[in-house]
Symmetry: C2
Subunit: 240 residues, 2 copies
DNA sequence: CGCGTGTTTGACCACTGTCAAAGCTGGTGG
DNA sequence: CCACCAGCTTTGACAGTGGTCAAACACGCG
């Protein structure tokens, strides 16, 4: 984890996301500015937290994606949740907390220390909303794994990612960059990579999506969302 | 939801659970005592929160079980998580929060208003630990659904319930009362009730468990836990 | 006794997993 | 500029877990 050049608050995807959660006043933006002036970089596969280890600090994800994993003794692996730009990492209000899972960087990642929420009521609220959304995403993942078939899981997962990235200004027109390999996506969806590959093939055939290299395009995001009954997680009156 | 006779703090399963999370001083116990002096009852199938509706208050579950559900448009249903005595319900630090799922009583349930955490540092800590455990349970559920087969899901689920009930003094010797029908259990495990029934049959045959009426007995809880690689969720240095 | 709710079973089949090998592709070094 | 390599994607053949539909069977309760 090394220091890199400062990130501009105004242009940051993280700022955009937090601002979409709740209005950020100048106090909040100043606090963010200050935090973002000392970003750190984590290389792909670098670990931010490890299962069972103390959670040493709270971070704001500025660039890149992270994933939370559970590993089974026999090598099986489950990707529990994703961290996208603007998401909070390790933000738990409990002294001496230990991580219940491992969090790793899926590509080169930039983070900064999370500003003290006490420094601004707006930040307090933004962080609370972000936490509530995290929980909503876990619940969505449970429903996906418990009651969706392979095709539904794939579409629902991509629709969720698309919606989340859009809030950070990182997706448009159904299109976004996807650092997950098919193998990792399969770990997220509770499938084998072979079966996921066949599911993607079928989704391409029926025209639901395009997926070349790292670029995914949902042909019709609204129709896809309707197909899986997806509605963007709304955790409070004014959050996007 | 009507008022019923007060619950004795000292004898309460909820108190026992919270005390196992962190030491409760007399201030904390007094606050609990006060809250428990005005319990409310919710009948089976009564709903505490509904998906999309505002979360109107925070409760402490004193007796009975609750479940959090997600319902799909076509009638499919996923049981997301369980609330057992001593668990917190609707405890989110966000004004105007909306529920991302429906919470219902699985049997006759007694709750009381959650004491203000600000009234006692010990309660603040106990509640924070409880929240962290809730998250750990969601993560466990994701792993169960994503990477376990039917037999593993069943054992893992029962082992988790057994461990949680034991902390509240409601289970001993691998044995506990289970208000979930096989159909509801199947909804929790992402299976059909028919397949779950066959899985239970097999688990009985190999001697893993007994399940008559509402009474479940794990023949060898430790061996069962080892089989699924279960370790009780530890979210901080001193929590059970 | 009859009914409703919950459990159990049978027959059949679809979805998803397994194993193994063959294509790609982007990056590296010669 | 090309050859090579590692990592990732794609495909085939086959096996097995878990789903579907339908019916019979228990059990508690009024």
């Amino acid at each position: 984890m090394r220091t890199v050049e400062p990130v501009d608050v105004a242009l940051s995807a993280a700022t955009r996301r937090l601002q979409n959660l709740t209005h950020l006043d100048s106090t909040a933006l100043d606090a963010l500015q200050h935090a973002m002036s000392r970003p750190r970089r984590i290389e792909r596969h670098g670990q931010l937290f490890r299962e069972g280890r103390p959670i040493d600090g709270a971070w704001l994800l500025l660039q890149g994606w992270t994933a939370r994993f559970r590993h089974l003794a026999d090598g099986r692996r489950q990707l529990v949740s994703l961290g996208l730009p603007g998401d909070l990492l390790g933000y738990c209000q409990l002294e001496g907390a230990r991580s219940s899972s491992t969090v790793a960087a899926l590509n080169a990642v930039t983070i900064c220390e999370l500003p003290d929420p006490a420094s601004s009521p707006a930040l307090t609220r933004a962080f609370a909303i972000s936490r509530a959304l995290d929980e909503a995403h876990l619940i969505a993942q449970i429903t996906r794994l418990g009651r969706f078939n392979a095709h539904e899981r794939l579409i629902d997962f991509l629709v969720e990612i698309y919606g989340r990235l859009k809030m950070a200004g990182l997706a448009h027109g159904g299109q976004f960059l996807m650092p997950l390999t098919q193998e990792l996506t399969a770990d997220a969806l509770g499938l084998t990579s072979v079966h996921l590959n066949r599911t993607i093939k079928e989704a391409r055939r029926v025209g639901d999506l395009t997926w070349v290299g790292r670029e995914v395009t949902l042909r019709d995001p609204q129709a896809a969302a309707a197909f899986v009954g997806y509605s963007p997680a709304r955790v409070c009156a004014n959050s996007g």
